[in-house]
C-alpha cells in the first residue's frame, strides 16, 4: 500500500477536438506531484491551465491519456479510491428539489450509510456547517454560501481521508469564506488530506502546506509554501513599541553597512478580509449589548 494520499506520475491528458488525429489539445502535459497524508496541498493556476482536468482525473471522472494517478495506492478510476475522496465542486451541483437533509441522506446512502448511523452523521455535519435551521429547506432556496456549506457537508459524509475542494469560496462572502477556511484548518488538524484548487492566492497561502503552480498544463513551481514565497536575500523585522530614536539607530546601522539597504519601511497592514471580519464581530457584539 502506498504511503501517499495522491500520487500523480507523468500524467498527460489530451482532448481531441475533431475527427482528425491532428486536431487535439494537450490540457495537461507530463504532470507529476504527490500529496502526503494529512497535508493541505494547493494547486493554483490561471483559467485553462489544467487544474480542473487534473482534479477530474484524480476524482476518476476522466482517465489520463498517459501516466498514472493513484489515490491512497488505488488507481484513480477504482471505486475504492472514490470511497476515500470527498469532493466539493466549485458550483453547487446538487438536486435543487431536495432539502439540505435529503441531500446529505442521498449521498450518505450512496456511501453505504443507513439507519441511526446515517441520521447521526447528518445531524453532526449539519451542526458543523451551521445549517441546522435550513436543513428542511429545498436547495433551490439556498444562498451561494449555504450551498457551499452543504456541499462541504456532502463531501465529508463518508468520512473521507482525502477532501478535494474546487474553488471552495468562489462567490461566497468574506464571513462565509472565513468559515470555510476555518473548516479546512480543522480538517488539517484532524489529519485529513486536503487537495485545494483555487484562484484566491491569499486563501491558498493561509491554509496550504505545499503549493503547485500550474500553467498551460505544466507544473512550473512546486514545493513547501514557506520555501516558495520567501525572498532569500531580504529579511523583515517587525517591532512593537519601538521609539523613533531606536528606529533612527537601526537605520544608521544599516546605512553604515555597504551591502545592506532598507527596501521598505512602514506599519504592517492587516488584510481587508481580517478588517471586515473584525468589524462584523464588533458589530454583532454591539447589537447583542444593545439587546441586553
Amino acid at each position: 500500500m502506498s504511503d501517499l494520499a495522491v500520487e500523480v506520475k507523468n500524467m498527460t491528458k489530451v482532448f481531441s477536438r475533431g475527427l482528425k488525429k491532428s486536431d487535439y489539445v494537450v490540457a495537461v502535459d507530463n504532470l507529476s506531484f504527490d500529496i502526503k497524508p494529512g497535508e493541505v496541498y494547493g494547486l493554483i493556476g490561471p483559467n485553462g491551465s489544467g487544474k480542473s482536468t487534473t482534479m477530474k482525473v484524480v476524482l476518476g471522472l476522466m482517465s489520463p491519456t498517459k501516466g498514472d494517478v493513484k489515490v491512497f495506492g488505488y488507481d484513480s478510476g477504482d471505486i475504492r479510491a472514490r470511497n476515500e475522496i470527498g469532493f466539493l465542486p466549485e458550483n453547487p451541483y446538487f438536486y435543487k428539489h431536495l432539502t439540505g437533509k435529503e441531500t446529505l441522506k442521498f449521498y450518505g446512502k450512496l456511501c453505504g450509510f443507513r439507519g441511526r448511523e446515517l441520521q447521526d452523521r447528518i445531524a453532526e455535519l449539519l451542526e458543523l456547517v451551521d445549517l441546522e435551521s435550513a436543513a428542511n429547506r429545498r436547495l433551490g432556496g439556498y444562498s451561494k454560501g449555504m450551498l457551499q456549506r452543504i456541499g462541504l457537508a456532502q463531501a465529508l459524509i463518508q468520512r473521507p481521508r482525502l477532501v478535494i475542494l474546487d474553488e471552495p469560496t468562489a462567490g461566497v462572502d468574506p464571513l462565509g469564506s472565513r468559515q470555510i477556511r476555518d473548516l479546512i484548518l480543522k480538517l488539517k488538524d484532524d489529519g485529513i488530506t486536503v487537495f485545494l484548487c483555487s484562484h484566491l492566492l491569499e486563501q491558498v497561502q493561509e491554509v496550504c502546506d505545499r503549493v503547485g503552480i500550474i500553467f498551460e498544463g505544466r507544473m512550473r513551481r512546486e514545493g513547501p509554501l514557506e520555501e516558495l514565497i520567501q525572498i532569500e536575500e531580504q529579511t523583515a523585522m517587525t517591532f512593537s513599541g519601538a521609539k523613533p530614536e531606536l528606529l533612527a539607530k537601526v537605520r544608521e546601522l544599516i546605512e553604515a553597512d555597504s551591502g545592506a539597504t532598507i527596501v521598505e519601511e512602514g506599519h504592517p497592514k492587516t488584510t481587508l478580509e481580517r478588517l471586515f471580519v473584525s468589524l462584523s464581530h464588533a458589530s454583532n457584539t454591539d447589537d447583542k449589548g444593545d439587546e441586553k
Binding site: K56, L59, G60, L61, M62, S63, I79, R80, R82, N83, I85, F87, P89, N91, Y93, F94, Y95, H97, L98, E102, F106, Y107, K109, L110, C111, G112, E124, L125, L128, G151, Q154, L156, Q158, R159, P160, R161, K186, L187, D190, G191, I192
Partner: protein, 308 residues
C-alpha cells in the same frame, strides 16, 4: 473509563462492494422523487378527467358496446402515457444530470456507472408502474360500476319480459361480462409496462451519447414508430430480393437494431375481450428482459469511458 467520542472528521474504514443493489435502489428512489417533484403525476388527474367524461357519456349502443368503448379509450390512454412518459422522462433525467453537473458529485462517490444507469432506468419504470397501477385501479372501478349497473338493468328488464328464457338471459349477461372487468385486463396493463420498459432502455442508450434531450426524444419516438413496422420489414427481408441495396440495408437495420414493438400488441386482443395464452405473457416478459440487458449493455459501452 470514558471514551473520547470520534471527531466529525475521523476517517472511516469502510469496504466497497464491486456492485451494490442498494446503491442502485438509492439512485432509483432519488429519480422517483425527482420525477414526482417535477409534478409528473399531474397526468393522473388528466386521466381521471378522461374517465369521468367517459362515464358521463351515454352513447346509443348496447351495454357491451359502452364497456368496450370505455376500455379502448382508457387502456389506449394508459398505453400512450406509458411509452411517452418512458421516452420523455428518461431523455430528461440523464442529460439534466450532465448539464447541471449533478453527475460529478454522484460519480465522485463510490458509485459505478452501471449502477447509475440501472438506477435511473429503474426510477423511471417505478413511476410508470405506479402510474399504470393507479390508472388501472381507476379504470377497473369505472368498468366494474358500469358492468354491475348494466347487469342489474338487463336482469330486471329480461326477467320482466316472458319472451326471454334463462339461456337468453345468461347469454346476454355473458356478453356484458366479456366486455367488463376481467382479470386478463391486468395482462394488458403489463403489456403496456413491458413496452414502456423497452422504450425507456432505448432512450437511456440514446441519452448516453446524445447532445440534448430533444435529440433523444425525437430519435426514440422514431425508433418506436419504426419498431411497429417490424413485421413488414421482416416479410420484405425474407421475400423481396429485387430491392435496392439501400432498402435492403435499411430493412436489416430495422430487423436487427430496432426492437419489435408489434409483439406487444397482444394487449389489444385482451382489451377487445379475447383470451390470451399465459405462455405468451412469459415469452414477452423474457423478451423484454433480453431487450433491457442488450440496451443497458450498449449504454454502458458508451457511458463507461465518457468523460465529464
Amino acid at each position: 473509563m470514558n471514551q473520547t467520542p470520534p471527531s466529525v472528521f475521523e476517517p472511516a474504514t469502510k469496504t466497497v462492494s464491486p456492485f451494490s443493489l442498494r446503491r442502485v435502489m438509492v439512485i432509483a428512489s432519488s429519480s422517483v422523487t425527482q420525477l414526482v417533484r417535477m409534478k409528473t403525476f399531474y397526468f393522473l388527474l388528466a386521466f381521471a378527467a378522461i374517465i369521468v367524461v367517459l362515464m358521463s357519456l351515454n352513447p346509443p349502443t348496447t351495454p357491451a358496446g359502452v364497456l368496450s368503448t370505455i376500455k379502448r379509450i382508457s387502456f389506449g390512454t394508459m398505453d400512450v402515457f406509458a411509452w411517452l412518459f418512458a421516452i420523455v422522462s428518461t431523455a430528461l433525467l440523464i442529460p439534466k444530470d450532465i448539464e447541471d453537473r449533478t453527475l460529478y458529485t454522484i460519480l465522485s462517490k463510490p458509485v459505478r456507472r452501471i449502477e447509475y444507469l440501472i438506477g435511473k432506468l429503474l426510477g423511471v419504470l417505478w413511476v410508470i408502474a405506479i402510474s399504470l397501477l393507479v390508472m388501472y385501479a381507476v379504470c377497473a372501478l369505472a368498468l366494474w360500476s358500469r358492468e354491475t349497473l348494466y347487469i342489474a338493468e338487463e336482469l330486471e328488464a329480461m326477467n320482466a319480459d316472458a319472451r326471454y328464457s334463462a339461456e337468453n338471459v345468461g347469454a346476454q349477461i355473458a356478453l356484458i361480462e366479456q366486455q367488463g372487468l376481467r382479470p386478463e385486463l391486468g395482462i394488458a396493463v403489463l403489456g403496456s409496462f413491458l413496452k414502456a420498459a423497452v422504450v425507456a432502455s432505448v432512450t437511456i442508450f440514446l441519452s448516453t451519447f446524445a447532445s440534448s434531450s430533444l435529440f433523444s426524444i425525437i430519435i426514440s419516438v422514431l425508433v418506436f414508430i419504426i419498431g411497429h413496422a417490424h413485421t413488414m420489414a421482416t416479410s420484405f427481408w425474407l421475400y423481396q430480393t429485387d430491392n435496392s441495396l439501400f432498402v435492403q440495408l435499411l430493412l436489416k437495420v430495422v430487423k436487427i437494431f430496432i426492437p419489435n414493438f408489434q409483439l406487444y400488441s397482444f394487449s389489444h386482443g385482451i382489451i377487445q375481450g379475447e383470451a390470451v395464452a399465459y405462455s405468451l405473457v412469459w415469452q414477452m416478459t423474457g423478451l423484454t428482459g433480453v431487450y433491457l440487458v442488450v440496451f443497458l449493455f450498449l449504454s454502458l459501452l458508451v457511458f463507461i469511458d465518457k468523460e465529464f
